[in-house]
């Protein structure tokens, strides 16, 4: 993971955009916590600069 984060930094992206969490399938509340944490973090970092602002994306790029 440290390698991926270094690579993102070298590319010019924020390393915090990727993170790995280990947990078992039974740890629902831990999953919710990290999902919320990542959602907040990504929202704070803003859209991926490689893809541009949300309104410039196609439906498929937005995942719709």
């Amino acid at each position: 993971m440290a390698h991926i984060q270094d690579l993102l930094t070298a590319i010019g992206l924020e390393p915090d955009r990727a993170q790995m969490f280990n947990m078992s399938a039974a740890m629902a509340s831990a999953f919710v916590t990290v999902a919320q944490e990542m959602t907040e973090r990504i929202a704070r970092l803003g859209p991926n600069p490689l893809r541009g602002p949300l309104d410039t994306l196609t439906d498929s790029e937005r995942g719709e």
Binding site: A10, I11, G12, L13
Partner: protein
Amino acid sequence: MIVAEQKSLDEIKSLIGDAERVLVVGCGTCVTVCFAGGAREAAIVAASLRMATKLDGNGKDVTDVTVQRQCEWEYLDEIAEQIEGADLVLSLGCGIGVQAIAEHFPRKWVVPGLNTSFMGLPTEQGVWAERCAACGDCVLGLTGGICPIARCSKSLLNGPCGGSEGGHCEINPDIPCAWQLIYDRLSALGKLDLLMAIQPPKNWKTSRDGGPRKIVRDDLRLGAEEE
């Protein structure tokens, strides 16, 4: 195997300069197994360059392809069209691969994406260590299969030096003293008498000191008999 390490993305970007169409060429042999320049690394470098150059405001057309062995022209023929179509080739092969491309495609600009480091082996996952310096006159038969040229910091033939301490080399305590290893192995195999013979100065002409080397095998050359 030949062991290499990737250059930083910044250095690779400056080597690429203003070329617009870049072909990243991986190699499926040594640099694949040392995780420096195989198909996976070539794809990652190509994707990283696409992203990095786009963020810099001048997205380049970067593609990748991997051949079985970059150090043989036959394999390079398979990607001749892709090479011709690129402004610049970024080789993720060892230094031999880079030169094979340069020699085979005289009009193509080719740059290295790796630093070729040494000939060695993986001693554990993620760790590679030097084992041979291609001296051209192997002495492993005298040293129990442990190379004093590549593994002794001073390439001593009649070691150890006075700096060997607790099995570690005085030049770098992180590496084992090669002559301690040789002594231990010969001792375990009951061949310590080999160490009683003084080795004369080595003829380094067979090594790099004799200039660039070449091997010619007339029994294998095509058309050699008619010559």
